[in-house]
Amino acid sequence: MTEIIKIFLVFPVFLIFLLMPLSIFNKNNNQLNLNNLSLNLIINLNILLIFSFTSIPINSYQVIFLISYASIFLIKIFKLKSIHTDDKTFFILLIFSFILFSIVIISNLDLGWDAKYFYYIKSLFFFEELNLSDLNNFEHNKWHPHLGSYIWAFFWKLPFFNIEYYGRLFYLFIFFFSLLYVVFSNLNNNYIKTIFFLIITIITFNYERFSGLQEILIFSLLLIASHKVFTLNFKTRLIDILTIFLILNLIIWIKSEGIVYVFILISMLLINKNLNLKERTFIIIGALLIFSLKSLIYLYLNYNLNAQPYNLNFILTINFADILFRLKNIIIYSAYYSLKNIFFFLGIVVLIILNLQKNTKFKIRTFNAYFILNSFFIIFAYLFREMEIIYALKTTMERIIFTSSAVYIHLLILYINSYFKIKE
């Protein structure tokens, strides 16, 4: 029973990551500011990223960090007169889904294959107060960056909790927040919002995604980033671009393939017609900066910069017959897994419909760019991978399709919203 009670207790701790440092209610109408809520999460995760570069152990700053945030928030909340119904629905859905699915996670406990090999052990390093340079001693460190494991350790290390799954429950929290953020930002009616949130949850939830694998973090961040890229506001676009960069900075520190998603999102940003040359230059410099920063830190720590199974010598040995064999299998497996992932499949169908419509008001250029670049990524990632192709496709394709489906979920929500608007 204690474990169930602790799920209720850990929820407010996770919530602090959304509530601070920026004010979450609009000053004029006391309504929830979803953008600030998401920005808070992004800022706080970036703060954790910065701490992860230092040799400061988690337990020496964690409690001070959380208590100071909570105190400031409590002072602020007392000034609040009332909470809007929409906002209540948002928080009710967040707590309901979090508690319910947390029970599934703590009942199951089984860690994923990659989690057992890489992420759990890396997390254990941070839990045991070791730092990034100590990770060099771990033979599998080179395969993926560390941020997901650091976040896992941060919440695992919570005083009085101290069980590894509290770290993974934070992944669940981010997942539900990102879904609610996109649904509540794009749909109007409270019931419609709830219905779509529940439908996406039913279809997407699968215990394995929360078994310590990192795809769920990339998926959630992509979902938030997709909304930010699509709704780039003329007045606040500098803040929006900065927010996107903060998200990209997280993505490249979670998984190696994060670098590809960063490239795709940057391309989606650059094709936005409303941006001027100065802003485009700012975006390119920003992208170079986050790539360079990662490379510099890797060089400083003596990490392997290119540990992935790709190298030029191998690529040069691939003959025409091999390319055909690989392409045939990539098409077969990607078609199979796309059909299995309803959002990925429907997203592409909707994109085709929108492209065929002559007078669509949709900004489909952004989604077209995503479709093209993401498809190229999937094809080339397997075409040039120095690994037995069928094995690689069987073990990783489903996860890549799932991660990529985040942007298509956003597209589907936008499409449904436009459909209801027309009906009204």
């Binding site: 029973m1 474990e3 860690l111």
Partner: protein, 243 residues
């Protein structure tokens, strides 16, 4: 129209909530957590001394407080189990102590699959690398007694560029009984692996459908009678080499 819409939406929400409650098996999971402690659940999910045997590893970690990380050899093919016991502060310190999980005895039977009549593959040789020194013999149990004079066994490499290469031919046959024969292999594992992670065997000059059962057998690298056993639970051991 509006009244219908207002009534229908809450019903849809309720149905979806019911689907979620069903999907999450909430009552079962709730009960499972209430009735089982964290350690009990770990034992039920991973096994105490079966499959990944995480329960036994956690017990050893608590009981022995290792100064160095012990080596773990699991005779059942599962994902990595080191995570359950590893101490990152001592990551480069490898102990003389060895944990044997699901120990099968002094003789190991290698997993194989039948590809077609009288052809057999042994996959994933990397799994056996730390458990055996050599593959000793192939035991064949026959459906009925036959003349075995011309029987031969060919061994092929893993598939490279779409083909397997003939690596060896074995002719030395021992008759154990009317229904059982043995082909001596004496294949040193280091000579095959890592060049080949899987190999194929083809029995020649033997009629189809005559084989009842086959076993590739090897001597276990660890003989439990010749080592110092520090802890034991069923087929799981904590040992220390005598030398």
């Amino acid at each position: 129209m509006k009244i219908t819409k207002i009534k229908v939406l809450p019903i849809i929400v309720s149905i979806l909530i019911l689907i979620i409650l069903y999907q999450t098996k909430i009552i079962y999971n709730f009960n499972f957590i209430i009735k089982n402690t964290f350690d009990d659940r770990i034992n039920k999910i991973y096994g105490f001394c079966s499959n990944e045997s995480i329960g036994y590893l956690r017990y050893l970690k608590k009981e022995y407080k290792f100064q160095k990380n012990p080596r773990i050899i699991n005779y059942v093919h599962t994902p990595n189990v080191t995570w359950a016991i590893i101490d990152p502060k001592k990551i480069n310190k490898i102990s003389e102590k060895i944990i044997l999980l699901n120990y099968p005895g002094n003789e190991i039977r290698l997993n194989h699959n039948i590809t077609k009549n009288n052809s057999y593959n042994i996959d994933n040789l990397s799994f056996y690398k730390d458990k055996i020194k050599k593959i000793d013999k192939l035991e064949i149990v026959l459906e009925k007694p036959i003349n075995i004079n011309n029987i031969e066994l060919d061994m092929y490499s893993e598939i490279k560029f779409g083909k397997r290469k003939l690596l060896n031919n074995f002719k030395k046959i021992n008759i154990i009984s009317k229904y059982k024969i043995e082909i001596e292999l004496n294949l040193n594992i280091d000579d095959i692996y890592p060049k080949n992670n899987n190999i194929k065997f083809e029995i020649k000059n033997l009629p189809k459908n005559i084989i009842k059962k086959i076993n590739f057998t090897a001597d276990n690298k660890f003989n439990i009678n010749k080592v110092n056993v520090l802890d034991r639970h069923n087929n799981c051991f904590l040992i220390e080499k005598n030398d």
